[in-house]
């Protein structure tokens, strides 16, 4: 499939300027769109999380703030203006820098983390043909770029000049690096079955055969291992030891306030969106409509398939997975650091390796 | 307190203790024997006072005579005893923190608030008040200090009442 960059380049190629400058424009425009998408995502995700948390805790959440006169009150969309209120508050808060902290590192560490998220978005599709750049090493690129954030975490903890932040940063770095191994191993399954690392090929394979999660019992198990590992990777409960509120105040993010903290926030929710999108298009069929599984309706318009429907299906699957992640957060207690590491190294990695071996046998036999 | 307990203890420590019926407690007249008495009531098979409930210091007012009241209970034999040791100022009572660990913090508190000294205590320092506080507040002749670390202690309440 073509990519957005190609499309834009072709559109503006009639302007009579140097091709390199045209290429520059064709690259910058999607980048800005992606950034706007991340900002929108964090605004909506924060509101969504507050409402989900509130309804699970038998209360109502934001109810008062409204926009243009629409307040909502006790309805499920109550307090919709909280989206803008939170954003404005975060952007205008005072920026406190503790004495003795490393100023340069404190300034750049949030940006390293969000850079990791932004770079990953380049390889993620939004539907058939709507991908910023269609790498032929798609999946590998995504896994690699999502690891860039670890450096930012360690720098953030170190530069705060605070024993507790350093603790949190070390735990977080160990956690992220350890859980990348099961993620890589489980994503490798579809590469073996489908034969290509390219994202468009993966979804095309799922269109021809079936959704990968239903392909074999091993891929079913792999989905759950993948999902729990990404919950650990994005530092969400039950794996949120680095941000453990009752122990370390806010872990490695304690000393950051105002704009820098909102950048951290943005990167956490962007990471959640990224991993949900990856789970959706690797295991759950991407932009294919669920009705294709059952093969009931032969006519294509009843299948709800197509360009715009594709965006809808992909995002609804991702949002459902994000909802499940939030559901976990408000239900489970958190694991201790050594139990976390035990789960990764002694449970997930052996299972993923066994999975990998068994699915090759499955492919050979069946 | 039953007669049996009192008889049991009196047999061992005839001269050092005195049972007072109106106060319903045992007074230890000879504080030097206190550690022996305490070890006896902990280990003896008919007594077995394994649970130290409370240590209370009190000030008798006249010429700074202090007292320490100990309340014991036996969880296995279900009986209760109260023992009091009354001393002058500057006499040390032996600490029973090695026998009952509950006494550790209670004796620290009694020292903190009254100034009664306990010998052989593993960790004698103030517990409720700051380490640099002067004086022992619960004594009857205690006067609030005028300054604490340079800050004047308010005594004239007309400013806020």
């Amino acid at each position: 499939m073509t990519s957005i960059v190609d499309t834009i380049y072709n559109l503006i190629s009639y302007i009579d300027i140097d091709t390199n400058i045209l290429l520059l424009f064709a690259i910058i425009i999607p980048g800005l769109v992606i950034f706007v998408l991340m900002a929108l995502n964090v605004m909506l995700a924060v509101y969504f999380e507050r409402k989900v948390a509130a309804f699970m805790q038998d209360r109502l959440g934001p109810m008062e703030v409204g926009i243009f006169g629409f307040k909502g009150g006790k309805k499920f969309w109550g307090g919709i203006g909280q989206i803008f209120a939170d954003t404005i508050k975060l952007l205008t808060k005072e920026d406190i820098m503790p004495a003795g902290a490393d100023k340069v590192l404190m300034l750049i560490s949030p940006f390293i983390i969000v850079m990791g998220a932004l770079l990953t978005f380049i390889g993620i599709p939004f539907t058939d043909g709507l991908i910023v750049s269609n790498f032929n090493i798609g999946i590998l690129y995504i896994i690699a770029m999502s690891s860039v954030g670890v450096i930012g975490v360690i720098l953030a903890g170190w530069s705060s000049n605070n024993k507790w932040s350093l603790y949190g940063a070390m735990r977080s770095a160990a956690q992220i690096i350890s859980y990348e191994i099961p993620i890589g191993l489980t994503l490798l399954l579809i590469v073996i079955v489908c034969g290509s690392l390219q994202v468009s090929e993966i979804v095309a394979w799922q269109a021809e055969n079936r959704w990968f999660i239903l392909h074999s019992p091993f891929s079913f198990i792999a989905f759950f291992i993948y999902f729990i590992s990404v919950v650990a990777e994005t530092n969400r409960t039950p794996f949120d030891i680095p941000e453990a509120e009752s122990e370390l105040v806010a872990g490695w993010m304690t000393e950051f306030s105002g704009f820098k903290w909102s950048i951290f926030f943005m990167s956490e929710y962007a990471n959640m969106l990224i991993v949900s999108l990856v789970a959706s298009f690797v295991f759950l069929g991407g932009w294919l409509s669920p009705l294709t599984i059952f093969n009931i309706f032969p006519e294509s318009w009843l299948l709800f398939d197509g360009f715009y429907w594709g965006v809808f299906w992909l995002f609804s699957k991702a949002i459902f997975l994000i909802f499940v992640m939030m559901w976990f957060r408000w239900t489970f207690p958190r694991l201790r650091v050594d139990q976390l590491m035990y789960t990764c190294w002694k449970v997930f990695i052996p299972f993923s390796l066994a999975n990998l071996f068994l699915i090759t046998l499955w492919e050979l036999v069946l | 307190m039953s007669e049996k307990i009192i008889n049991n203890i009196s047999k061992q420590f005839n001269n050092s203790i005195e049972y007072s019926k109106e106060n319903n407690c045992i007074f230890v007249i000879n504080p030097d024997k206190w550690l022996e008495i305490a070890t006896f009531i902990l280990n003896d098979n008919d007594l077995k006072f394994d649970y130290l409930m409370c240590i209370t210091g009190y000030d008798l007012g006249e010429s700074s005579r202090f007292g320490v009241a100990y309340n014991f209970y036996s969880t296995s034999l279900k009986h209760y005893i109260e023992i009091r040791v009354e001393i002058d100022e500057d006499i040390e009572i032996s600490s029973i923190a090695n026998l009952w660990n509950a006494a550790n913090w209670h004796e620290r508190e009694t020292f903190d608030l009254y100034g009664i000294k306990f010998s052989n205590h593993p960790d004698m320092k103030r517990i409720l008040l700051p380490e640099d506080w002067e004086g022992h507040p619960l004594r009857k002749d205690y006067k609030t200090p005028d300054y604490y670390n340079g800050m004047p202690v308010p005594k004239d309440k007309s400013y806020w009442e």
């Binding site: 038998d58 039950p238 958190r334 694991l335 201790r336 | 209370t56 009190y58 109260e82 913090w105 517990i127």
Partner: protein, 378 residues
């Protein structure tokens, strides 16, 4: 697999980590000096005294009736127990015989207060371990109990209700009906909490086998209440030394059995509290059946002037064995009033049972001991 590590193998530099007085998870202003080599704790030293309000010195200048609000403020999560225990000590010196209705009302109030205090203990323990939702649910149910108390005496947290010689107000007309409604609503809720938290695998991994308190160590340190009963004994003052009218009621004393791990671990301390809430519901129902009529102000003295002497009263509060030691000279103010607080002794055992565990476990153990700094510091 998560056992105490042999210290002789590790020889790293030890550092002092300070969980300062302001911290989201120490229950009140408590400072913990933790000596650790990075993650494993070798010694924990609690530093208390940040909430010391000179309660005992004040009581020497206040008359006996004026002390009752002060006793409420000692353990503010179980205020009825404090004032009940104080009233019992004063009544020993006054040598009065209370009317039956007063005793029954006091028992009902005490058991409702026990449920309220255990709800916070259970919820806050979940919060320490990381589960945030059970805390909001338990607090929602505690609000109903506080509404009942507000109906009774006008206050939600610090009641000034149990006076030496009686209680301040009789039960309002709707109280019995509303309490029965609450009890019918509350009993199935305990099963909901069990589903969410008690049998949760992650919760069990965090709290089972952690911070085991052997029984003889506990008795030696003076630990009482649910924290001691979790270690295997059924020592409960309501059964062993019955006071008030507890001898008339039929209830069990939950004992820790080590269902999910060793006897006396944090899970046991938590589960004993959950079971105690069920027993309290039983007691309240029996008390309503046998509630006699009468005048609650019959023996309420106008001026309290006890005889010369000393009295020590013992009472089973939500946290353990509360004692009030009062020395009186015949005047209308006590010469010496000492409050033996259960959380004081429960906290002193923290060092003993948390060496060898990790820093996260220190918080779990502290949460399972259920302390309130108000009664530790007085």
């Amino acid at each position: 697999m998560f056992k105490v590590i042999d210290k002789s193998i590790i020889s790293a530099d030890e550092m002092v980590l300070n969980m300062g007085p302001q911290h989201p998870s120490t229950h009140g202003v408590l400072r913990l000096k933790i000596i650790t080599d990075g993650e494993i704790v070798s010694k924990v030293e609690p530093v208390i005294g940040y909430l010391h309000r000179c309660f005992e010195k004040h009581c020497e200048n206040l008359s006996y009736e004026q002390i009752v609000p002060f006793t409420d403020r000692c353990d503010y999560l179980a205020s009825m127990h404090m004032s009940h225990s104080y009233s019992m000590a004063v009544e020993k010196l006054l040598d009065v015989e209370l009317p039956e209705r007063v005793e029954y009302i006091r028992v009902i109030i005490a058991e409702l207060q026990r449920i309220a205090s255990h709800l916070i203990a259970v919820g806050a323990f979940g919060l320490d371990v990381g589960a945030i939702t059970p805390f909001t649910w338990t607090l929602r149910d505690r609000e109903r109990i506080l509404d009942l108390f507000e109906l009774l005496c006008g206050a939600r947290l610090l009641y000034n209700y149990v006076w030496p010689g009686g209680v301040s107000h009789d039960l309002p007309s709707k109280f019995v009906e509303r309490t029965k409604e609450f009890l019918d609503y509350f009993e199935p809720q305990i099963d909901e909490y069990n589903q969410l938290l008690t049998t949760n695998k992650i919760f069990i991994e965090r709290s089972a086998d952690v911070g085991v308190l052997p029984l003889n160590v506990g008795v030696n340190f003076g630990v009482t209440g649910p924290s001691l009963r979790a270690s295997g004994t059924n020592f409960d003052l309501r059964k062993d030394e019955p006071y008030s009218v507890y001898s008339k009621f039929d209830f069990d004393v939950p004992v820790g059995e080590g269902l999910m791990g060793t006897v006396g671990d944090c899970w046991d301390r938590y589960y004993v509290r959950v079971l105690e809430m069920k027993e309290s519901v039983k007691i309240i129902r029996q008390a309503f059946e046998g509630l006699p009529s009468g005048d609650v102000h019959e023996v309420l003295p106008k001026k309290i002037r006890p005889r010369k002497g000393e009295a020590y009263s013992r009472y089973e509060s939500a946290r353990g064995d509360v004692g009030f030691y009062i020395r009186s000279d015949g005047k209308n103010t006590p010469t010496r009033l000492k409050m033996r607080s259960p959380a004081y002794c429960n906290l002193s055992v923290l060092d003993e049972i948390s060496s060898g565990w990790m820093i996260s476990d220190v918080i779990t153990i502290l949460g399972s001991l259920d302390i309130v700094l108000g009664e530790i510091d007085r």
